[in-house]
């Protein structure tokens, strides 16, 4: 896709263009502590972080608008349409997180460290998005993971935070071990850590191959931890509940997406693109199986939650189950749907977390029952929450409907023909959507119908309001006119399937 002519960027930066977004973030991350040391101004740090993110976003945006710019840096990082769209997504997440952190009451005094950690964690995601080598992907994921353990632990005055961080760390360690084990197995099998070459190596395999089975399952389990797929999900509710709300939001919308990027990169390239017919169907059924239990368990357990952050965590797990449909179907259209749902999920889930954070900053607790009468006390925020929750449930004309529609329909219509193979998956997903409406609507009911004891207006901080309105605009705009975003997603998934 070429919308504007930006070839001069190639001349200026050469192959460095491929890592310019990361460089911008690193510069930002390194300068923030110094800035804080000299100015002692919290807002200054946040602003610096925002500027770094925006600069980085400019580069990613240029590649999205002119995909002829895509280039490779040292055979490791390839900034193409897919990478650019994902980078942009991660940067939006980081942007919203910083906006939500501005006025957050949950962060302790380590402001400069917080923003630094956040930016470097984002950088790790960016590396993952553009890497095409299993080891680099592993390093990128670790970079993000290790920093997010610290981010979760940052809410020092709350014991839940430290507990969550320790759990997260231990489970994360097990997962990293599994991933490394899987990578080493693959290396042993094919003699390469480059994804495309691994795919080639798999071409000649036949029948049962125990090392291969162990390798792929280890990879799925290791990265399944990142996307919080059942049964590797158990850390997520604890971590989201314990962490400061902006961090929960970062984990749920950003770090989870990173897991998906890795899975897309490895499994789509390995199985669908290089025509390596070996074990494709088996892998699809494995993913379909994980998708089914993930969305079902996520939704059913979410019903019983009383804490809104835990509820959102389980809903996040369920959404991961929906996106896994893309990996089960493995068609270009399905991956388009998956990427599209990842994008809309950022705005709706992110928006919901920001609302929770804004309310915590305004003195409202985290239990759903604390939201009684919210519609009267904070009409704008309550309405925003209603939009986000309905969008998560997939009610038109909101963004969640559009993306779920594309995603679910991809399981029914494959290559323009109605196929029965994955129809059961679409039906399960739709039933799950119906179940999920129950717990989303319950929150809306508490906000709008139940009356609370207190009727004072709630004052929401400006930066929170800006972030909420931003998410609201996107949730509605994407829902009403999804076509441009779908175009970008199509471009991105086309790259994965080897089209330029």
């Amino acid at each position: 896709m070429k919308m504007i002519e930006l070839a001069f960027l190639n001349d200026t930066f050469g192959t460095m263009l491929a890592i310019m977004p990361e460089i911008m973030l690193i510069i930002g991350a390194l300068s923030i502590p110094g800035l804080f040391y000299f100015t002692k101004n919290k807002n200054m740090c946040a602003t610096a972080a925002l500027i770094a993110i925006i600069l980085s976003g400019v580069f990613a945006g240029c590649v999205i608008l002119d995909s002829t710019l895509s280039c490779t840096f040292m055979n490791i990082f390839k900034l193409d349409m897919f990478a650019a769209v994902m980078i942009f997504l991660f940067l939006i997440v980081a942007f919203l997180t910083v906006l939500a952190s501005f006025a957050s009451s949950e962060l302790s005094n380590h402001v400069s460290e917080y923003y630094s950690l956040l930016l470097i964690a984002t950088t790790g995601m960016l590396f993952v998005a553009s890497a095409n080598n299993l080891l680099v992907i592993f390093v990128g994921v670790e970079c993000t993971s290790i920093l997010s353990y610290a981010l979760v632990a940052l809410k020092k005055n709350d014991p839940r935070s430290s507990e969550a961080a320790v759990k997260y760390l231990i489970i994360g360690g097990i997962s990293s071990g599994l991933v490394l084990y899987g990578i080493s197995m693959l290396y042993g099998l094919t003699g390469s850590i480059d994804i495309a070459k691994i795919a080639h190596g798999l071409e000649n395999m036949e029948n049962l191959n125990a090392p291969f089975v162990i390798a792929v399952i280890s990879l799925i389990a290791g990265y399944g931890f990142k996307i919080s797929a059942v049964p590797f999900h158990m850390w997520a509710p604890d971590a989201y509940e314990g962490a400061a709300t902006p961090v929960s939001m970062f984990l749920s919308t950003g770090s989870k997406k990173m897991g998906f990027v890795v899975l897309f990169k490895i499994f789509i390239v390995m199985f669908a693109v290089e025509q390596s017919v070996y074990a494709v169907e088996e892998m699809r059924y494995i993913f379909a199986f994980i998708a089914t239990i993930t969305m079902t368990i996520g939704n059913i357990v979410a019903i019983l939650q009383k804490n809104i952050k835990r509820m959102l965590a389980y809903s996040s797990i369920a959404q991961a189950g929906y996106i896994l449909i893309a990996l089960a179907v493995m068609s270009e259209y399905a991956v388009t749907g998956g990427i599209f749902h990842m994008i809309t999920h950022v705005f709706m889930k992110g928006g919901a977390f920001i609302v929770v954070g804004a309310l915590i900053a305004a003195g409202i607790k985290e239990n759903i029952s604390d939201y009684k009468g919210l519609a009267k006390r904070a009409p704008i925020v309550a309405f925003a929450m209603l939009l986000f929750l309905f969008s998560l449930a997939g009610i038109p004309p909101l963004a969640g409907f559009a993306s779920k529609f594309v995603l679910f329909s991809s399981a029914i219509v494959i290559d323009g023909v109605v196929r029965t193979q994955w129809m059961w998956l679409a039906i399960i997903a739709i039933i799950n959507s119906a179940i999920s409406l129950y717990y989303y609507a319950k929150v809306v009911k508490v906000m709008y119908i139940d009356s609370g004891e207190c009727n004072e207006k709630i004052v929401i901080k400006k930066s929170h309001l800006v972030a909420i309105l931003l998410c609201m605009v996107f949730v509605v705009a994407i829902g009403v006119y999804p076509e441009p975003i779908i175009k970008f997603c199509e471009g991105a998934s086309g790259i994965l399937f080897g089209k330029c």
Partner: protein, 684 residues
Amino acid sequence: MLDYSWLVPVIPVACFVFVGLFCKKKPQIGGYIAITGAALSCILASIISYEYLTSGYYSSNKAFTMAIEWIKIGGFSINFGIYIDGLSCIMMLFASFISTMIFVYSLGYMHDQGEKKRRYYAEVSLFLTGMLGLVISSNYLEMFIFWEIMGLCSYLLIGFWSFDHPEAKEKSSAAKKAFLVTRMGDVCLIGGLFILLWVFKSLDYNALFAPDAIKAVTNNEYGVQLVTIASFLIFGGVIGKSAQFPLHDWLPDAMAGPTTVSALIHAATMVKAGVYLTARSFPLFVYNSHMGEQVLLFIGVIGGFTAIFAASQALNNMNIKKVLAFSTLSQLGYMILALGAGGYLMCVGIKNGNEGLIALGASGYIAGVFHMLNHAFFKGLLFLCSGSVIHSTGTEDMRLMGGLIRKMPVTSITMLLGSLSIAGFPLFSGFWSKDMVLEAAFGPFEEGFGFGSVFCVLFLLGLITAFMTAFYMFRMWFMTFVGEPRENAQHCHGESPLSMSVPLIVLSIFAVYSGILILFGLGYVINESLISSGINVEKYSSDNIVMTIFSNQWTYISIALALIGIFIAYLMYDKKEINPGILNKNGKSFVYRLLADRYHFPQIYDHTSWGLGYGVARVVNYFDRNVVDGTVNGLSNAIVESGKIMRKMQSGFVRDYARYIIIGVIVLVSTLFLMFLTGGFQCQ
């Protein structure tokens, strides 16, 4: 500028948002914003019309279309776009112009409404958006969206006085009635759209109206049936929206809203949408060479019957607004009749390849659209006049008025002009179009086709309607403006303020002269929209239209009937030489009661909807309580219980978490092993 046509409906919607959100403190400002918005739309519409009519699109017989892809799922896409041709130019011009006048008038009429004005101006702006968007839509789905916006606004505005008003209950039930009755039509319409989408794989006018597309679809029995059913269903939507028999009875009740709203509904928006839709769907009807005649015959019959059926109920109504409402119904019937008869001829002409018949059919189409335009002006004027009367006398009952000509000279003169126009007094606007309508209805009989005799009956009914129209309009005028001032008329405030009387004067000029436009190429423009939608008609010429009209004996007969009607009204209600009480046995005669009871239609509606609705509701309720609730409760209990079990797995101990991960890996690995060993999924 043509590329910016989308601004025409966007300006009023912006006003809607602005007035609705920001005019809480100063609702009066809202009025000026709404007027500015409507006026801007009107100016823009004029510029766009001018540009279209002088552009290459027009001279090469093409409509201007532009669309963006709204949503695309797989191979199926829905567009959002604009479609400008002669018909949409005319529609958007008169809709925006009359709305502007009505909004100006509202400044005076609604001035004592206080905070409610915000709601009023916001809603009327949205109403206008609905109409303007509808006429420039480029596909049926988009059209339907705006169609529904109008439905919503009509509900809100008819029920404007549903709160804090002595008759709040009746007002709100009138609003509900309007909404529910038109809904019947809407359901038909969307059903028709589904069929069209299924058959044509698209709802774009461009795709649907291509003669080849319709022929390709109707080349087998199945396709013919589907298209025919879709045509009937679309016309069902028209019956609801344009209040044709048998879904007509919401319109008289809709008088519950403020008079300006009635003017808006009757002149500029809402009911005109149905006529527009019929005209817009013309290619769909006429190219259906197997069943199209039946569809169009049905359209003509419904129109002709509604015309006389509604006119008869206006004969003895005492409410000034309801007389006008019935007259709208009857005039709408005229328009539908002309479209039906014209379409019938055209359909036959296309089937037999007879160009003369096609041209004759086109003149029916022109008559229908032309009458819609004229009706918009004089009905807008009449409603605003009646509003002016109501405003200063405080009643709608004509028995309490009388002799107002001395106190309200402007209102009475302008209303006289409007009445002359609608009665078809020679050279007034109604005269031209009504004559064309009658001529169109007579066409099929003259040509002597299978159903020609049916159209002959419709034509005769139309003539009788013309007589009735003249009579009831002048009955209303005489009762209101001449004779002894009765109760309320005695303490009338005098002439209405300037903001109300100026729009009256402006509209009366149009109401008198808009008919002359037919001599200056209006027919050509309307005809062109047929050509641009793919129908092969010769260009319309207005050269000898005067000759045709005045050399036709029926013209003189209809003029005579109108004059007789006026004269009888004069004798009865001014000179009092004939006592109406003798004719109707002082209101006890069967016919009089029947008319006054509106042929018992309100009761029929109540009975059907009560019987049908309540019966269905009881069955559904039973099903809902026992089957659906049972299933849902059972299921939800199961889900909650299983959720409790699963929540127990989340023990909080990290060792359990790790254990589940390992178990998960083992399960997955063994599943994969099993799959390989059974060999079930080798590549297909």
